[in-house]
């Protein structure tokens, strides 16, 4: 588990926070705001703590506020994975 891809993110979002009926998470969502995907900060917080567990990374608390889109979150997670000791 050395890179964190879209498929994994979508799977974890579904498991940790559920899925908005009107949203197609399998579509092109990389640059769609989490808010427009139906996710609030608690939903992201729950998902991020799962990512931290699964990938053994420590992400700063601000990540939930900083990452506005799936692409931004994936970049932060992959940076964390690269810096992992």
């Amino acid at each position: 588990m050395d890179t964190f891809d879209t498929t994994t993110l979508v799977q974890l979002l579904r498991e940790c926070a559920g899925e908005e009926e009107e949203v197609d998470l399998d579509g092109d969502i990389l640059d769609t705001a989490f808010e427009d995907l139906g996710y609030d900060s608690l939903a992201l917080f729950n998902t991020v703590s799962r990512i931290e567990r699964d990938y053994g990374v420590e992400l700063p608390d601000e990540v939930v506020a900083v990452a506005q889109t799936p692409r931004q979150l994936m970049d932060l997670v992959n940076t964390g994975i690269a810096e992992r000791v």
Binding site: A17, G18, E20, G38
Partner: protein
């Protein structure tokens, strides 16, 4: 309370029911009329190492077909059930709060201890795996007023919101509080209560009350007003209502009116050892007085039916003293579901309203050797077809709570 002027009498325009013997108003009501019980051996966890093993358990269902997917990771079983009942009640009333002014609608529900099953799962994760394994939704999913919050968020009801905790009596108190909000200007309230998580943690708390029947026979474990009474069976479920100011309901063209809340009374028992009488009778008298209703106008009493000899005796004597011996038909349909904690009294109110609609008093089951035949005209085994215009619902909660509600068929 009604000494001067005429207080508006809120009308109930929608009903939603989730019960061990039926997952909708129609399913529950037909099960009740058939005498189908929902009391069975617990399947949600292995109860074999506990003194009691049966409950009014709601059978497995697929929440994904009934609720938005986003709500599933953040809700305890009891909250899902409450959301299902609220949705049914609003649909039944043909009301969409999201289309009404933002503060026109509110929610008051009864609760006991919140989302036990969810809470237990997260505490186990904390102990066995660590803090990172605890769901962020634990922050509110366990919380006792969570049903009120989730209903209000889902349906956009930003008016008054609260939860009432008074064990088995709380459901009537919630309806009374919702009525106060309607009288203060709120247009529509969702009220009532859905309760009960069957998990080892909650089971332990429930058993500690000492009021639970340890019988393993679903047919004889919960037999209130019976010589064999030995405690209660508890269960999960309840009912939620849409209750409206009558003028607002007329303005929006509400489809139907089940009934109106005519009177309410609530009291607290004296401290044990004082020798003063229990407060149930005073609660009944307060409710009748507010309703401006004579005992002879009451067509049926839905009993609290605690199922333990001392409490049953208090209730039988209270009913006989107010109405005269065998002076009014009495029923305890909760013999089909068990006592649903904070959800039980609302389910009784719903049953009373359906009883009025269809002109039939549903029966108490399993009471084969009635203990108070000289005091109570208990409707047993077979529903009694008769006109029902006004009903009294009694509810008691462990710790000394007594509440009484008078509902009348809408005219």
């Amino acid at each position: 309370m009604t000494a001067t002027g005429v207080q508006t009498r809120p009308v109930i325009t929608g009903i939603g029911i989730v019960a061990p013997n039926g997952m909708s108003t129609d399913d529950y009501w037909s099960a009740v009329l058939r005498g189908d019980s929902g009391i069975r051996r617990i399947t949600r966890f292995d109860p074999s190492s506990y003194p009691a093993a049966i409950a009014g358990e709601i059978p497995e269902y697929d929440p994904a077909g009934l609720l938005p997917n986003r709500l599933l990771p953040q809700t305890d079983r009891m909250t899902r059930l409450a959301l299902i009942a609220a949705q049914e009640a609003l649909r039944d009333a043909d009301a969409d709060p999201a289309e009404m002014p933002p503060f026109a609608c509110g929610v008051v529900t009864s609760a006991s201890a919140g989302g036990f099953e969810f809470g237990q799962k997260e505490l186990q994760a904390l102990w066995s795996q660590g803090g990172k394994f605890v769901s962020a939704y634990q922050s509110f999913a366990w919380f006792y007023p969570v049903n009120t919050g989730q209903i209000s968020i889902r349906h956009g009801m930003r008016g008054p919101g609260s939860a009432i905790v008074a064990e088995g009596a709380g459901g009537l108190d919630a309806i009374a509080k919702a009525r106060r909000h309607l009288r203060a200007g709120t247009s529509l309230m969702v009220t009532g209560g859905v309760d009960g998580s069957l998990s080892p943690w909650s089971w332990l708390c429930i058993l500690r009350s000492g009021r639970i029947s340890t019988s393993s026979d679903p047919h004889s474990a919960f037999v209130p007003f019976d010589r064999r009474a030995r405690g209660a069976v508890v269960g999960e479920g309840g009912a939620l209502f849409v209750m409206e100011d009558p003028d607002r309901a007329a303005e929006r063209g509400a489809a139907h009116r089940y009934g109106e809340v005519l009177g309410y009374g609530t009291t607290f028992d004296p401290r044990p050892g004082t020798g003063r009488p229990p407060g149930l009778r005073r609660a009944v008298e307060l409710a009748l007085a507010e309703a401006r209703t004579e005992p002879s106008d009451i067509d049926v009493v839905f009993a609290d039916a605690a199922g333990s000899p001392e409490l049953d005796l208090v209730e039988a004597e209270t009913i006989a003293s107010v109405f005269g011996p065998r002076g009014v038909p009495v029923t305890a349909t909760k013999t089909l579901t068990g006592r649903l904690l904070a959800g039980g009294a609302p389910l009784d109110v719903a049953t009373a309203l359906l009883s009025m609609r269809d002109g039939v008093i549903p029966a108490t089951v399993h009471v084969d050797s009635p203990a108070y035949e000289d005091l109570l005209d208990l409707v047993r085994d077979v529903p009694r077809e008769q006109r029902v215009s006004t009903a009294l619902v009694l509810a008691r909660g462990e710790g000394g709570y007594n509440s009484a509600l008078v509902v009348r068929k809408a005219t």
